[in-house]
Symmetry: C2
Subunit: 344 residues, 2 copies
């Protein structure tokens, strides 16, 4: 397996083709017959030829690099999104340069400038650090996932529908008081749709409701402390059947743990629905009913929008999109043990 | 923010330096004074100069690319490892090309060949697909993390010590019967050290013990099913105080959930210790005592070993290491609610 320098001349001699033919194989393979392409490919393998892709990128500008910027991969939601994006390599052959944004705008912009210097073909952005207006100014294909995206193409979960699904199930479970628990979410963030979906459904069905928002702090422990306080407050409300819709599965699990440590089981006057279908929803002491984001479908849509733009850039006279394309993916209701069995 | 082509001539005119000086700035900046470097850097910024790093890589071979191959990032352990590796960008400036190996050897090797064609400087391998002998044959700097590594540099947790820590705590908790639960782990895998650490500690302390291994299947649900059977079997053993050390926190949490659903609480005749300190250990209904791998320290060691090799490759006459360097990182015992409070 030792790798020595193999030149076009070596390949030509080995295959009995001319150097021009070998050159055409690399720069315009379709001008050769399939048989000849295969002969040369086999010779390259036998000779241990080590292609220098960088030289080709310089010549034709197609780096096959795509940059990804995620805020973190500590949260399973981002890890799974990244997992699905990276797994498209087998299908599309793009190589991914991955960067953890983590809210430091200066480092994020240094990184984007580096990516541009390496001639990336496109950029997938999940972090919230850089505005879509700034992203658009880089004049390369961009798609964002689940974030502000006024000036660039985007894919989002239909968060409003998710809120409606969760709330409708709790109403069908005959909950007489509905509660939504969320962090302080600005209205321009896509996830705000969950709050609107909850509120509209409660109003339409004429069920009394309450929205509890709080700053849960930066750590898991601070979140537990805040949810504990909310649990104590809700416990004061008495025994009426409460349906609680949480902004995510982590909050739901923490609340469920407070219930179990007090009651030893899930009493019938609590019904809970989470959001995300993250692993903790399955791993909880009673598996949690949740709204699942279709991450695979979201990633497929994101790659479609990105490839559409990247292919356009390869044309002799690329025509940029007249307006950014925005796609929404419907979430799915996954019923488990924190709600009553119910056909929706 | 529009980006037009800016040439060396433009920069020379703008700064009143010669084109030779501008060229030296890019190829040998230390030959200029700091003041002049800063003047040129500021001019580049003002002119909106877009560096073409690929051209420089071709000239000097320093791509600043490092490849990472992970088996998946579904498991939090790999996600956190990747998180820590990517976060070294701020310090070392390496750009990471990330690939999900996922046990398909053919795709993994296609990908490695692509990475070589893009002139990566080094490779970090967490997947088990390619043997260390094959990795060594690529003749580029390699470091593996927590896997077979006979022929390349590596970083591992001291798994044996972890097994000793967990088992010693259970013995101090006065458990009269010790049980270890693990999947079928081959002896050449670093994690096998956990089993040896458990067994040696039980023998030294003369405590009766049992090792239960099983094939838990490919999914979370199949794992739950198998752990459920093991739970029923252990329940038959009666009320003596059982100390159970699990191969990971996921198994521990599933077992704990079976206990809670039966007893409504954690009875005093069960004491549990997990491994990994993954989020589920904190998020369980009773936070789980566990052996934490020091992932940040492991990644720091891995980057040190990689950079050592990569810097050597940049010398005019690189001297390869005479033998691969292997480093072990001590794990830490994290006591939570599934064991009795105890000073170790």
């Amino acid at each position: 397996m030792s790798r020595k320098k193999v030149t076009f001349a070596d390949i030509a001699e080995y295959t009995n083709f001319s150097k021009t033919t070998i050159s055409r194989y690399f720069n315009n393979p379709d001008s050769l017959t399939i048989e000849n392409q295969e002969k040369i490919a086999q010779a390259l393998d036998e000779l241990g030829y080590q292609e220098n892709k960088l030289a080709r990128v310089l010549a034709n500008g197609k780096s096959e690099f795509v940059g990804i910027i995620v805020p973190n991969i500590y949260l399973h939601y981002y890890a799974e999104m990244l997992n699905q994006i990276l797994s498209t390599y087998g299908e599309h052959n793009y190589k991914f340069l991955v960067f953890i944004g983590d809210n430091d705008k200066k480092i994020e912009q240094t990184y984007i400038n580096e990516l541009l210097a390496y001639k990336i073909e496109g950029l997938i952005v999940l972090s919230h650090t850089t505005t879509s207006e700034e992203l658009a100014s880089y004049q390369i294909p961009v798609v964002t996932i689940e974030r502000e995206s006024a000036h660039v193409c985007s894919v989002c979960t239909d968060n409003y529908l998710g809120g409606v699904q969760a709330t409708s199930l709790l109403i069908k479970n005959n909950c007489s008081r509905l509660i939504h628990i969320n962090s302080n979410t600005p209205e321009y963030v896509p996830a705000y749709g969950r709050i609107r979906g909850f509120e509209d459904t409660c109003k339409t069905s004429n069920v009394p409701y309450e929205i509890i928002t709080a700053d849960f702090g930066p750590t898991y422990d601070s979140t537990v402390e805040h949810i504990g306080r909310i649990f104590n407050r809700i416990e004061q409300m008495g025994d009426e059947k409460k349906g609680i819709f949480f902004a995510n599965d982590t909050y739901t699990n923490i609340f469920l743990n407070f219930i179990i440590r007090k009651y030893g089981s899930l009493p019938p006057h609590y019904r809970l629905v989470g959001f995300d279908n993250s692993p903790i929803a399955s791993e909880a002491v009673f598996p949690i009913t949740t709204i699942g984001q279709q991450i695979e479908t979201m990633v497929r849509n994101a790659m479609e929008l990105l490839i559409l733009q990247m292919n356009e850039m390869k044309k002799r006279v690329p025509k940029p999109l007249s307006a950014p394309i925005h796609r929404q993916v419907a979430p799915v209701l996954i019923q488990r043990d924190t709600t009553d069995p119910c056909t929706m």
